[in-house]
Symmetry: C2
Subunit: 152 residues, 2 copies
């Protein structure tokens, strides 16, 4: 036996399937479908802002794993679509705070509902405790992965 058990191999196989381009594209399409002014490129900015709250472009960029120059450009698109606004930081003349407008909040909520409905549908024929255990497992798994990532 090698160090890598069959469980690890099964995990990499299924996660590999999950991460293939066609799947990601499918999920992003479902996510932004019918949400005006948002696409797969700008959604991470919108969603990240909803997650961390009002923030500077630099801080938001770090949170979503994107360069600050890309972040500010996508923020401009969302601003043009009326989904976020820029407000000057009163305590630092250099800084600008990005924050969602009411329509931006609504757009995020709609996108999340659409994705949640899809997953709800997928889990519909699972036993309730089974589905609950699985989602809890996902939360634990992703959190552990994030920690490993941030640890370097």
């Amino acid at each position: 036996m090698t160090r890598v058990s069959s469980l690890g191999m099964r995990a990499q196989a299924v996660i590999g399937r999950f991460l293939v381009r066609s799947n990601r594209t499918y999920l992003y399409e479902r996510l932004v479908d019918g949400v005006n002014g948002v696409d797969a490129t700008t959604y991470p900015v919108l969603s990240g802002l909803a997650r961390v709250g009002p923030a500077s472009a630099t801080r938001l960029a770090a949170a979503i794993g994107l360069d600050r120059t890309a972040t500010t450009r996508y923020a401009s698109r969302l601003e043009a679509a009326g989904l976020l606004r820029r407000v000057p930081d009163a305590r630092d003349g250099r800084a600008t705070t990005l924050e969602l407008t009411a329509r931006g909040e609504a757009a995020v909520a709609a996108a999340r509902r659409a994705l949640a409905a899809l997953f709800e549908d997928v889990l519909a024929d699972w036993g309730e405790p089974e589905a609950e255990r699985f989602v809890a497992g996902l939360e634990r798994f992703v959190t552990a992965l994030e920690q490993r990532h941030h640890a370097g």
Copy 2:
């Protein structure tokens, strides 16, 4: 209560975290780290070919969710690196079959082992039946998602 339960919302939240760019990049780096001649761009072609077996560029492209023109170009890179070869199709003069070389097979195996080791590590402090249940759940979940996708 809306149609979207909190479990669906929890699922979309955690999968959203999993799919963020920084996480995907991290996984792809781990995946191809130290595997010569393969990067995040060409890996899907290599891996897809391992999954479906020898195939034409057109068929492989459909399997990995990539355009056939991109597929054939990335295949050329992998060919130059000695990881796959092109063989003419005896029954159809237009077609070319892509197939992994021995080194290509070894590269895929190495990449998969690297990713499996990471996941193994993440799951190491889970109870064994818990980890097993979770991976089985993932397999069921991803399969259901793929079916929904292919259904349209």
